[in-house]
Symmetry: C2
Amino acid sequence: SINGERLWQSLMLMAKIGATDKGGCNRQALTELDKQGRELFITWCEQAGCETRYDEMGNLFVRRPGRENTLPPVLTGSHLDTQPTGGKFDGVYGVLAGLEVIRTLNDLNIETLHPLEVVAWTNEEGARFSPAMIGSGVWSGEFTLDYGWSRTDKQGISIKDELVNHNMLGAAKCQAFAVKAAFELHIEQGPILENEALQIGIVQGVQGMRWYDLTITGKPVHAGPTPMEQRQDPFMGLADISKRLYQLAEQYAPWSRVTFGDIKALPGSRNTVPEQLVLAVDLRHPEQAVLEQMDLQFRQIVAEVCEQYQLIGEIRDEWNSPAVSFDKACVNAVTNAVAQLGYSAKTMFSGAGHDSVYVSRVAPTSMIFIPCEGGISHNEAENATPQDITAGANVLLAAMVEMAEI
Amino acid sequence: SINGERLWQSLMLMAKIGATDKGGCNRQALTELDKQGRELFITWCEQAGCETRYDEMGNLFVRRPGRENTLPPVLTGSHLDTQPTGGKFDGVYGVLAGLEVIRTLNDLNIETLHPLEVVAWTNEEGARFSPAMIGSGVWSGEFTLDYGWSRTDKQGISIKDELVNHNMLGAAKCQAFAVKAAFELHIEQGPILENEALQIGIVQGVQGMRWYDLTITGKPVHAGPTPMEQRQDPFMGLADISKRLYQLAEQYAPWSRVTFGDIKALPGSRNTVPEQLVLAVDLRHPEQAVLEQMDLQFRQIVAEVCEQYQLIGEIRDEWNSPAVSFDKACVNAVTNAVAQLGYSAKTMFSGAGHDSVYVSRVAPTSMIFIPCEGGISHNEAENATPQDITAGANVLLAAMVEMAEI
Ligand SMILES: NC(=O)NCCC(=O)O
Ligand SMILES: NC(=O)NCCC(=O)O
């Protein structure tokens, strides 16, 4: 069984890098702080006797040899980057729990048949660079390396620039290698486990999600003399579009999700009706067919509302991540681990995207969830209990060892 | 009668400074381009034999001596700054028409009893620095010099900084001096004159206007796993607030105006429900009592909607410019000029704020409007005909000469 205190302390030390006033973390992908976090992690891994390597996307791999080093490794990991108003656990927990598995096996002098690897994927959050999970996406072949390198943040700085600036552009090719089994341990980021007072979520799959840039174009005119009925005001369109999209979410409740994460007005002058609003829209549903239906209705709503207000609505697809089902053998390994350890658990879907979505395309994969306080995540108040942190890492240890011995 | 061709040519030359691809102008207050525009204007004024001076707010005054130089001047002018997506006429027309009046009197060798002055006020648009009309506002005593100097743009650069950077911080005190009469010639920026096929608007006053910063605060949570009914989403509040504010505009139609000019989302991450939306809201009505009623209802709507969605709504007053009635004698001088020149005209209110709002607090003031194409302004497509441009300047000449001789 893992050392819960050591894991908790590592989490708290890592949380100092990018710590915010409100107790959260702002350690966005490929910033100087992200680099500092990775360096701390590398130091710990080297102290645990592991070798580390960066690949061309800045994905950071850590290897613990097995008894048979030509066999494919059992992989675990997640990400060290955070949201701008992020917490201490999202992603970090999965990486540091992987390290804790290695530390525990070292303590117990256990050598596994297969080697073990822990990975910190680049830019999982999608907050600084869109889309999310881009490091694992390039690795798995979902995106080309050029696509990954060329993604830019709001200031126009590219991933490639930042990999070079912070010395994280590694020599290793960013492409999938043979993996025996992959596990990702994560906080749930939703309220289900907490509401049902369960310790572990056995994750069967991930809901489908689509990201869009919605542009609503009207006519910039003077706020004072221009009669209301002569306006082509994108805000009038937005009011109806957002109302109707929230109704769409109700139509497919309780699993549907509709989120406007960001908005910009152009020219953005107090006394001018904006010419343009640009919005980031996020639609999700665990059933792929329903998500596709939501996509169609979204397009229709935008078309209808824009016609009504004489606006031009444009929808640009930014990301499309279909619903995923995880590997049966990996899900079974987690189920066995939970049973053996006697934790309360249920099988469930993930509402958030994770690197495992892309890893699962090229390797047998599944995930393990633990509850988080109030189901809150992407928020500085994100929290989890030391007990649940320990329980999750114990499940990870057992599942990894099971797969590493067969 | 003025030289319409010369005036039109001056307008077109000035429009080259900050010219945009779409045929408009982006010459925002106290930028390098604003400075270039003012220097071109100063050159023309010096060629016309006038002296120029900057005051402490960068307001630029041009003087043509009269027969009796201890008498207060007859003042005209407007502004040279534009909106980010502005046109060639808003403000510029009033300044260059003042110069054309001087050029015409020079051509005709006419000396007036009172001296004449033309002014280009600083930051009338309120687009770069809020509030609008700040140069004339400080001059008239509505704002203190410190308030004026300390206003900052979105990058945090202050008016004082930019006055120093561009060498426009003049020695002259920024405070009202005795003025015999003040006139401002402007495009209507609305559709009334064009719809009624009239040449001149005799402006009796300006509608009241209020600017607010509306902040809607919710809770940042993950876009994926967080159930819709557990969210405190500022966009849900905005949908209802904007719907109800547009209904408020209908309640007080046809003269009410409701505009959202700008918006920002914090943290502004695609897969996070925003913690905060910050909006620029502009409410207007020509009747002060109705505007005050709209203000109250606005506050109530925000309170009710925010309570319903468990959001926090905060309204910060950014600017409050009550409805204005212009000076009878000045309005009469314009009416006489129109009659004498035989132009079609009507008396009307201004829907836009103008420097005359503040000038009218310390000097007898009125305004003259000409039609603009489609009533469109604060738009690069803003346009007016050479015929109307000439007619308006002729009215200005006649009104100024009438007041300068008594
Ligand atoms: N776990 C997590 O926050 N992933 C980001 C991708 C998403 O938006 O679901
Ligand atoms: N004329 C003009 O555009 N003034 C700006 C102040 C306002 O918003 O009305």
